[in-house]
Symmetry: C2
């Protein structure tokens, strides 16, 4: 691996995303990306008694399917890296237990999908591992009650709020098997805090982190937005994306033509999700559906995915602390 | 990196722990390891208004000191990997923000110290990074109120309970600079669940995970306890260590002579900590004091450190779920 500039790494091995699986809830399945998803679940509890146990079943189903589709035996998967939004990464822990694959738990809030691809790729690059499963997800009903209010409370949502995506995305990456989709470079983000204290205003908290990371990537690689077919942020939502575009404009980059936000595009405007989707599952399911399929068909030759995380803790938020953000970037190319 | 067997990796580069810093609270500073620690803090709040803000200051002080001692400039540190026990890894997030070093957040409960050394070493091995800071910690007062009861409640502690260590351990690892202490191999653990549901009984929940990981390491490397000067588990406590020794005995390994548990040794018996210490800070501070100093002096030539994590979530514990455990191992050698 070669380090470029301050935060970016160039992968030297041939590392492929060999399979990607996306599983979403009913609401996401009614949105504009419905045709791209592998599974649309009608029951948010997956037949279980609690949303938390349902989320766990979603993880298990998506990951098991990704392993099956990869045609690898379970013992050929060296490592499972990933996380979720639940405290102590509950959903991932129980999934790792069921899978019996060595596990490294990660948490960078909604930036965990790209974090898992970065750590997974580094294990492949080091030569130790050959096949790694990277997965993250989130669930509207478990996240709302942990981070904000219980659903039964029926609170009014702020106009600038977002809607946590119910869904899990799982990618099998490999240095042994080949696919058309390669991981080429990545940029590890710094924690960035612009003083947002409002737990509904995730987009504004994350936008500066996305800007810092994309700006670092452009500087480190001496490229600009013109060199990429698609630039996708994770879950800034409509408002957050607008702030992000303004911040990038100030740095001299015009993102008008080839930029999307996974959170903004995952719901239709009439689905009452306000600024759009958020959550660790958001960029994970859009990556493992829309983005991988467009790379597969070579409609996009190269894509920058910047998952964005709001590192929000209710404990310290109540002590007056603001919400720091982080964003990690991966460059994917169609070969 | 070469994979040995199912879960173990052998590092090929020359990777050194160039500095280690340990910072502990007053109670840990009254224990038998007092003479080994770099900082003993009398004020658990570090002059801040809340324990959470105090914990953050402890992270910042330990890590800043580790960087200073390493004689590296801050911009020569490629990466900060680590985590803590707070939900959303609050203490690490705010520390990363202050440090302005690219950050990957990890969570495997009290196994996070070895998890961070494993991921840090892999970044060095891949050639992308040259210097990485690995750090974890915990705080009795923030952990108790998050995981069990507020301190003001004054609950009676179970005879089999442990005491969360207040402390932070930080190691700078490098493929560029040299020290006498090398990271040679590591084993990534699987999530193991033996059905313990009692949130006070961490030792019993973690002991099977420690056994699985050490047993995997011995099998993968074709070695046994006789080949190592010291085998140290993270924070099983007295009861957990006894269970662990019994489980290892069943596998045919006798750990009577060269085995310690960091949690068991960090307090004196008259300090009223029941089974001893626990927490992500426990193995982190013992590694970065006692263990590194004994390797430095070559009293130990090789050490197996197995940090042990109880992946306990109050949310799903209240839904009847048990507490899964995980353990990751690193082999350190004095050169």
């Amino acid at each position: 691996m070669i380090k470029l500039g301050e935060q970016t790494y160039q992968i030297e091995k041939d590392i492929s995303i060999i399979t990607g699986v996306s599983l979403v809830g009913r609401k996401e399945g009614e949105g504009p990306l419905a045709g791209y998803f592998d599974f649309i679940e009608k029951d948010d509890k997956m037949g279980e008694k609690t949303f938390e146990k349902g989320e766990r079943q979603m993880f298990l189903k998506a990951i098991s399917c990704a392993i099956r589709k990869s045609e690898l035996k379970k013992d050929e998967i060296d490592l499972y890296v990933g996380g979720d939004l639940m405290n102590q990464l509950v959903s991932s822990n129980y999934t790792a237990e069921e899978l019996e694959i060595p596990f490294l738990g990660l948490y960078n809030a909604c930036a965990t999908m790209t974090e898992s691809l970065i750590i997974g790729s580094t294990f492949l690059e080091s030569g130790g591992a050959k096949n790694v499963i990277c997965a993250t997800g989130s669930h509207f009903s478990t996240a709302e009650r942990q981070y904000r209010y219980p659903l039964e409370f029926g609170n009014q949502r702020q106009s600038y709020a977002q809607w946590t995506v119910t869904g899990v995305g799982a990618s099998v990456i490999s240095s042994e098997r080949r696919s058309k989709i390669k991981i080429k470079k990545f940029t590890i983000g710094k924690v960035t805090d612009f003083g947002i204290c409002d737990i509904a205003n995730m987009g504004a908290a994350m936008a500066p982190a996305a800007m810092e990371t994309l700006n670092a990537f452009f500087k480190d690689t001496n490229t600009s937005q013109k060199d990429y077919d698609l630039i996708a942020t994770g879950d800034l939502g409509k408002l957050g994306s607008d702030i992000f575009k303004d911040l990038m404009q100030e740095k001299g980059y015009d993102l008008e033509t080839n930029y999307i936000d996974c959170g903004h595009m995952i719901y239709n405007i009439d689905q009452n999700t306000l600024q759009g989707g958020s959550g660790a599952g958001c960029s994970a399911v859009v990556l493992n559906s829309y983005i991988l399929q467009k790379l597969q068909s070579k409609e996009f030759k190269n894509v920058l995915l910047i998952s964005t995380g709001a590192l929000m803790s209710t404990t310290v938020n109540q002590q007056g602390d603001s919400i720091p953000g982080i964003a990690h970037l991966v460059l994917l190319e169609a070969d």
